[in-house]
Symmetry: C2
Subunit: 209 residues, 2 copies
DNA sequence: ACCTGAACACCGTTCAAGT
DNA sequence: ACCTGAACACCGTTCAAGT
């Protein structure tokens, strides 16, 4: 499956050159790499700068502050999540298969992109409750699920309850599974989340009938 | 319902006295109060000390470091959560009613004790993956749910799947609902989580049949 | 035992100055 | 435009010293 980790080569500045060239994206990528390796709390702007061979204040040419950098990471995550969920619908002609694939894709995305996922739903949210673009990206990703539920309802395969409600139920379930897996509450094995979702998918399906 | 916020009066040291008296618990309570007001990232040991009229290093007589203080907050949370879940089973004679009450109690606990809940399941976990007492308390709370599912199975009211699996499914659902509510993803209203659970309870129940 | 103040090695952020 | 170094107001943590 598609992940965002493809271009994650260290984009260090070549010594002696004045301009970095692609500093903005390099800062975001390095932040994601640090968070993925050591957690959100281990992220320091000075460390990011040092890893890229750049002054600790160079970052402020591209981001207002640390939260602005994290907000970009979160937005990048929501955009990629939406793309992942939409792509999951193209593999299977059967609507029921699409729902299961979408759930699998969601949990896999969370595990393959833990750094993004932790920023998207982590403590950083407390400080930026009113960031309209961020909320818009998050909503857009969620709408991929709502559309799936609506299609299933129109095909008569899901009960005629409020689609927003049913979507939130499914979202809460896969979100909970993803977080329990990331936090190690399902055991040390990385793939425990995918396995748990596979076992839960028929239960979720039954709940929607 | 029972919450932990009952004795949350400011336990400031009376000026001039040398010993605080109950400094350890006062430190924990002040940490919880700060987190509840401003988020986990806003917690500083110096701030906690200042709020209690105590030196910034007094804390180290009771806790090895900041993570040790957070671990106590998390353990306190898991113990209280277990008590809340167990208590939810005493109000209703009907097993199905008990399951629904337990789910309601879980979501309500998370919303009424956001500070504890965020520490119990937040980014702090990344740094203390192997804290055996903490894991034991967390497991004990989870076992209250497993016992509920087993009782329902023995009464023939829940399908005969692996009870651990079914318990994790229910846990993931209520955990997801609680976190979405706390993070404001269900709207600004505080009680949105409780309302969403109330609507989801029949869906969860149907999934277990 | 419990508390204190000074000290150390870190942070995020600002700002005048360089190219 | 983009980058730098010094500076400021913070952190967590340690430690010798006080009661």
């Amino acid at each position: 499956m598609w992940t965002m980790s493809t271009p994650r080569t260290a984009a260090r500045k070549t010594r002696g050159t004045y301009h970095h060239g692609h500093l903005r994206q390099a800062l975001v990528d390095e932040a994601v790499r640090t968070i993925g390796r050591s957690g959100v709390d281990a992220l320091t702007l000075r460390g990011v700068g040092a890893a890229l061979g750049v002054s600790r204040t160079a970052l402020y040419r591209h981001f207002a502050d640390k939260d602005a950098l994290l907000a970009v990471v979160a937005r990048e995550g929501f955009v990629a999540l939406k793309a992942t969920l939409d792509a999951a619908r193209t593999r299977c002609a059967d609507l029921d298969g699409q729902l299961t694939d979408m759930g699998t894709a969601y949990v896999r995305f969370a595990l393959d992109n833990q750094a993004h996922y932790l920023v998207m739903f982590g403590s950083f949210l407390e400080r930026c409750q009113d960031a309209p673009e961020l909320m818009a990206d998050a909503t857009a990703a969620f709408q991929a699920l709502v559309a799936m539920i609506v299609d299933l309802q129109q095909a008569g395969r899901v009960r005629a309850d409020d689609p927003l409600l049913l979507s939130r139920f499914v979202w809460a379930s896969v979100h909970g599974i993803a977080l329990l897996a990331i936090n190690g509450q399902l055991g040390p094995d990385r793939s425990a989340g995918v396995a748990l979702y596979a076992a839960c998918a028929p239960r979720i399906r039954a709940a929607l009938e």
